[in-house]
């Protein structure tokens, strides 16, 4: 672990690639808002 002097947060030394990038996709089904989040989903 190393301490980030700027943020004070401990950071791990494991992930040290020159570039980190990824992306996943799926069918969109988001309906939550700041007043509520649906925890469960039911299929038809």
């Amino acid at each position: 672990m190393v301490k980030n002097k700027k943020t004070g947060m401990n950071e791990t030394k494991k992930n040290r690639n020159d570039v980190i990038a990824s992306r996943k996709t799926c069918r969109t089904d988001g309906i939550g808002l700041s007043h509520y989040i649906l925890v469960d989903k039911k299929s038809k």
Partner: protein, 467 residues
């Protein structure tokens, strides 16, 4: 416009129709962000190798191949959705007088219930609407929401009972009427339950959430939490204000101790003037919020049990898999009026619950106008047409699709127009920066629901990246 339609081959970074890869300071000692805002493509690159990396044709080419499909994906997410949920307010009344509520006081104090007959009629109309429009394998959702749904208990229970095979149901309640019988009813029908609590002590909670007579609610909420322990589909909403932000990390410990599986730590919505009196400063609130997130991480590492802070988890997901997001406040246009809408006790329909006190955002009435006509109304278009490209400084902000510039109700009511930001900006900046730091350190799993990416497929990966 399709990238290929522009008369530049897009071969070069930051010129012509090439990707606009903006460097982003994420506050990490090793990495900085490199983001193509339009496609929400992100990468984290070593700070000391930025120039070399921007010259590395191999990984840039791999992004170029995906760029158009990522643009289309964002186009679909932002403009191609149809509603799949309704926030159903079956009463205007509430037994609490919370300082930041978005429903006007006269409605909460003296308002009306929707009759049992009308609740059933409305659910029938919604069922018919979703039967025509729903294209997914999942049931449409009906969330019983503000003011306090359990004040109209008989209509609520009847509605859930009669339509249990037609909708996934949820409820948001202040818990004052959430007794063992109600919990048992909801659990047996797999109703997702959200409750509200703003702090780990009665003294803190009572500053913002109390009855009309000024009585506190801490004891009642704790009793409800005991009843809900062990149920997997419940969550706690904590609204961040000047009155409780100092205790957010303690709140996280408190919720974790009480085996709460999910929470929302939401900065207060400032739609109505009363909420603005307890609006915290952006940067101070962000500091306490991030402290709380770090606390949740330490608790998970120590106990092996997660308390997912859902609004932050959603930011992480909006980066890792934009279409998998569960909350629709942090994308523009927001989900109001396009992935969900709100139904008031009068039958009036609004883009989101946040607009229920604002008559000029009424799109029509479910008993008088067709839902499709309401969705196409000018009132709805005001909200569904609000996009970050029309807002300063969002139009040039690299993280505009990880933030979404919430909330249109705040922007319109507090700041004077849909082309304005909402009440907060730096808070969301700090949240995204922290999310990138979490990803840089490969810690994202600790902040996300187990199995969050079930049903997703990988569309881009730099070898060695932890997903």
């Amino acid at each position: 416009m399709s990238i290929n339609a522009i008369p530049s081959r897009g071969r070069f970074v930051n010129s012509g129709s090439g990707p606009a890869l903006q460097p982003v300071d994420i506050g990490h000692s090793t990495y900085m962000g490199l983001v193509d805002a339009d496609t929400a493509f992100w990468s984290l690159v070593r700070r000391d190798k930025l120039g070399v990396i921007l010259h590395d044709s191999a990984w840039l080419k791999s992004y170029y191949k995906k760029r158009e499909s990522f643009r289309k994906e964002m186009e679909m997410l932002r403009f191609g959705l149809k509603p799949s949920a309704v926030y159903f307010n079956i009463t205007e009344r509430c037994n609490l007088n919370c300082r930041y509520c978005y429903i006007p006081e006269n409605m909460r104090r003296k308002g009306k219930h929707m009759s049992e007959e009308k609740v059933i009629n409305a659910l029938q109309l919604l069922k018919a609407y979703f039967k025509k429009t729903s294209g997914t394998a999942l049931l449409p959702k009906v969330i019983f929401h503000g003011a306090e749904p359990l004040l109209n208990k008989k209509a609520l229970f009847n509605g859930i009972e009669k339509f249990s095979k037609d909708f996934t149901f949820g409820i948001q309640t202040n818990t004052l009427l959430l007794d063992a019988e109600a919990v048992s009813f909801f659990k047996s029908r797999k109703v997702s339950i959200g409750i509200s609590l703003d702090g780990p002590t009665g003294k803190i909670v009572n500053r913002t959430r109390a009855s009309w007579a000024g009585e506190g609610v801490f004891r009642q909420v704790n009793r409800a939490m005991e009843l809900l322990k062990g149920y997997d589909a419940w969550s706690v909403i904590c609204t961040i204000t000047t009155e409780n932000m100092q205790s957010l990390a303690r709140m996280v410990s408190y919720l974790h101790d009480n085996e709460v599986p999910n929470c929302l730590l939401n900065v207060v919505r400032c739609t109505l003037p009363s909420a603005r009196k307890i609006k915290p400063d952006d940067s101070i609130a962000a500091r306490y919020f991030i402290d709380a997130l770090e606390k949740s991480y330490r608790l998970y590492k120590k106990s092996g049990r997660k308390l997912v802070v859902a609004n932050f988890a959603n930011i992480l997901i909006s980066i890792l898999a934009p279409t998998a997001r569960r909350l629709m406040c942090d994308i523009s246009p927001c989900g109001g009026g396009r992935s969900f809408f709100a139904l008031a006790p009068s039958g009036d329909i609004f883009p989101c619950s946040e607009f229920i006190g604002l008559k000029h955002f009424r799109g029509g009435n479910i008993f008088k106008n067709g839902i499709n006509n309401i969705l196409a109304s000018n009132a709805f278009k005001l909200v569904t047409g609000r996009k970050v490209e029309d807002i300063e400084p969002c139009r040039r902000c690299a993280i505009r699709h990880f933030c979404g510039s919430p909330c249109p109700a705040e922007a319109y009511e507090m700041n004077g127009g849909m082309d304005k930001t909402g009440a907060f900006c730096e808070f969301y900046e700090e949240q995204v920066r922290f999310a990138f730091r979490v990803i840089a350190d490969g810690k994202q799993d600790a902040f996300l629901w187990d199995g969050w990416d079930k049903g997703t497929k990988e569309t881009f990966i730099i070898p060695g990246t932890r997903t």
